[in-house]
Symmetry: C2
C-alpha cells in the first residue's frame, strides 16, 4: 500500500499560493476579453470558470513542469489555464446533455441563460483554451488535440452505454481513459515537454496523469454513491442518468439469478426510494470495496511513476494531489 506523508505547512502554503495564482490568471484573462468587447459571453463563461473548482488540471501541469526541471512558471501558465478552460467548456456541454440543474451547488448555466447561449459559451471557452496552447510547439498542441478529441470519442461511447447492463470493465476503462484520464495525462506530459524533459521522463509523467485520472474517476463513481449535499452533489446522480459506473458494473458481473434481476430492475427504474435496496445489493457483491481497491491500485501506480524523479517540493505536492484524490469529498 502506498503512503503519503501528511502535508507540511510550507507545502500547504505553496499549494494555496499556486491555486490563487491560477485564479488570478483566469480572472485577468476573462477581464481582458471583456475589455476587448467580448461582453456577455465572456462574463457568463467567466462566472462559471471562476465559480470554484479545485484547479486540479492546472496544478498538475505546474507541478509536472517543475518536477521535470522547469523553472519559470510563466512559461507553463498558459498551458495550465488552457486545460482548465477546456475542462470547464466540457462541463457546460455535459450539463446540457445531462439536463443537470446544479453544478457545485449553483444553478447550471443552461438553466440560467437557456441552452443556445450555454452551447455557445462552451464553444467560446473551448476556443479560448485551445488558443492559449498556440504558443507551444506542434508536439504539445498535437497532444492536447488528441486528448480533447478523445473526450468527444469517449462521451459518444458513454452515451451508447447508458443503461447498457452488459457494459464490461474494459468498456468502462476505455471510456474513463478518454473522458477523464486522457486530459490528465496530456497536461502532465505536455508540461514535462515544455520543461525540456527527456521523452522517457515526459512519458512517465504522462502515465502518472493517466493513472491518477483513472483513480480520480473511480473516486467520482464512489462519491456518486455517497453523495454530499453540502457540495451540491446529490447522491445517485449517475445511477439516475443510467451511467454505468464501476461499482454497478462489478455488481452486475458478480450477482446472479434473482439478485441480478433485482439489481437490473432497480437500475432500469431508479429513484431515490430504491436507494437502500441498491446499496444492499452493492454490499452483497462487495462492489464498493472493489472499486475502492482498484482506485488505490491506480493511485499506487501513479505514484510509482514518480520514483524516477528526485525529491523536491513539486514532487511532494504531486503526491499530495494524488492523496487528495483519495480523500476528496467533491
Amino acid at each position: 500500500m502506498y503512503t503519503v506523508q501528511a502535508i507540511s505547512e510550507a507545502q500547504l502554503l505553496r499549494l494555496e499560493d499556486l491555486r490563487e495564482k491560477v485564479n488570478v490568471a483566469l480572472r485577468t484573462l476573462i477581464q481582458r476579453e471583456v475589455n476587448k468587447g467580448a461582453g456577455e459571453v465572456a462574463k457568463l463563461s467567466g462566472e462559471i470558470l471562476l465559480s470554484g473548482g479545485k484547479r486540479l488540471r492546472p496544478l498538475l501541469g505546474i507541478f509536472c513542469y517543475e518536477v521535470a526541471g522547469g523553472k519559470d512558471i510563466d512559461e507553463i501558465m498558459d498551458l495550465a489555464l488552457a486545460f482548465e478552460m477546456i475542462h470547464t467548456a466540457t462541463l457546460i456541454h455535459d450539463d446540457i446533455n445531462d439536463a443537470a440543474k446544479l453544478r457545485r451547488g449553483v444553478t447550471t448555466l443552461h438553466e440560467r441563460i437557456g441552452q443556445p447561449k450555454a452551447i455557445i459559451a462552451g464553444d467560446w471557452l473551448f476556443v479560448q483554451g485551445y488558443g492559449l496552447s498556440g504558443r507551444y510547439t506542434k508536439e504539445c498542441i498535437d497532444l492536447i488535440r488528441e486528448a480533447c478529441a478523445n473526450i468527444a470519442v469517449s462521451e459518444f461511447k458513454q452515451l451508447d452505454h447508458v443503461l447498457d447492463l452488459s457494459t464490461s470493465p474494459e468498456d468502462y476503462l476505455d471510456i474513463v481513459r478518454g473522458k477523464t484520464a486522457g486530459p490528465f495525462a496530456a497536461v502532465c506530459e505536455s508540461a514535462a515537454i515544455i520543461a525540456g524533459a527527456s521523452p522517457e521522463q515526459s512519458q512517465a509523467l504522462g502515465r502518472f496523469g493517466m493513472e491518477l485520472g483513472i483513480a480520480f474517476q473511480l473516486m467520482d463513481d464512489l462519491l456518486d454513491l455517497r453523495g454530499d449535499e453540502r457540495m451540491g452533489k446529490p447522491r445517485g446522480k449517475d445511477v439516475l442518468e443510467g451511467k454505468m459506473t464501476l461499482p454497478l458494473i462489478h455488481s452486475l458481473t458478480l450477482l446472479h439469478g434473482e439478485r441480478r434481476r433485482h439489481l437490473a430492475a432497480i437500475l432500469n427504474n431508479f429513484n431515490d426510494g430504491l436507494w437502500d435496496e441498491l446499496m444492499g445489493l452493492l454490499e452483497t457483491s462487495d462492489s464498493i470495496m472493489y472499486a475502492e481497491s482498484l482506485m488505490l491500485t491506480h493511485l499506487e501506480r501513479a505514484i510509482h511513476e514518480l520514483d524516477k524523479f528526485p525529491s523536491s517540493m513539486a514532487k511532494s505536492l504531486l503526491m499530495q494531489v494524488a492523496e487528495n484524490v483519495h480523500t476528496r469529498h467533491d
Copy 2:
C-alpha cells in the same frame, strides 16, 4: 460598378480541381481518425463535413495564399481544412440552437442522432479544426482564436436581438462582422501571412475577406427572402426565427405609422401565410433593393483591395469567388 470577366475554361478547371483536393483532404483526415479508433463521432461528423458545401473558406485561403506569393499548396492545406471544420462545427451547434430540421436538404445531425451526440460531434470538429492550425505561427493561431471567439460573441448578440425590432443597421453589421465576415477575414489574412506576405498585403487580404463576408451575409439575408426548395432552403426561415436581417431592419426604419405597425405585427407572429404581405411591405420601402445595393458596395470594396496585387490565375479566381457570392443560389 465592378465588373468581373466570365470564368474561363482554365479557371473553372482549376477551381474544380482545388475543391476536389480539399474534399479529398477532408475525407483522408476523417478516415485517418476513424482508423485511429475515433469511431462513430468521426464517422458522423465526417458525414456532415462531406455532405456538400461550397468549400468557400478553404478556397479563399488557398487563393489568398497564392495571391500573396505562396507556392506550395501543402503548406496552406491544413489552414484551409481547419476553417472548413470549424465552420461545420458552428453549423451543427447553430442547427441545434435553431431547432433546424434540414441542412442542405438533409436531416440535421441532432434530428438524426439526438442533441447530446450532436453537441459532442460539433466539439470534436472544433478540436480537430483548431488542432490543424497548430503547425502555424502564434500570430496565425491568435488570428484564428480571435475570429472563432468573435463568432461566439456575435452569436450571443444575435440571440439578444431576436425579435428586437429596434435593432439598428450598426448592430446588424457588428453581428455580421463577428459571425460571418470575421472568419472570412481570418482565413484570408492568415493565409497571406503563411505565404510570407508583408503586413500591408496580409491586412489588405484580411479586409478583402471582411468585405466579402459582409456581402456574403447580405446575400444570405436576401436568399432567405427568396428561398429555394431545391437547395433545402425554405423561404422565410430567418423571419420565422426572429432573426433581424438587413432588409427587415431597413424596412422597419423607413416605414411609419400604420405600415410599420403592420410590419411589426407580421414579424412578431410570422407564418408563411403572411408571406405576400411581408414582401409587399418590403417592396414599399425598397428594402430588398437597398440590401442588394449594399451587398454590391461591399463586393466592390472587396475587389478593390485586390488592386494592389498583380494579375494572376489566383487573383482572377478570388474575383470569381466574389462574383459567385452575387450569383449564388444557396
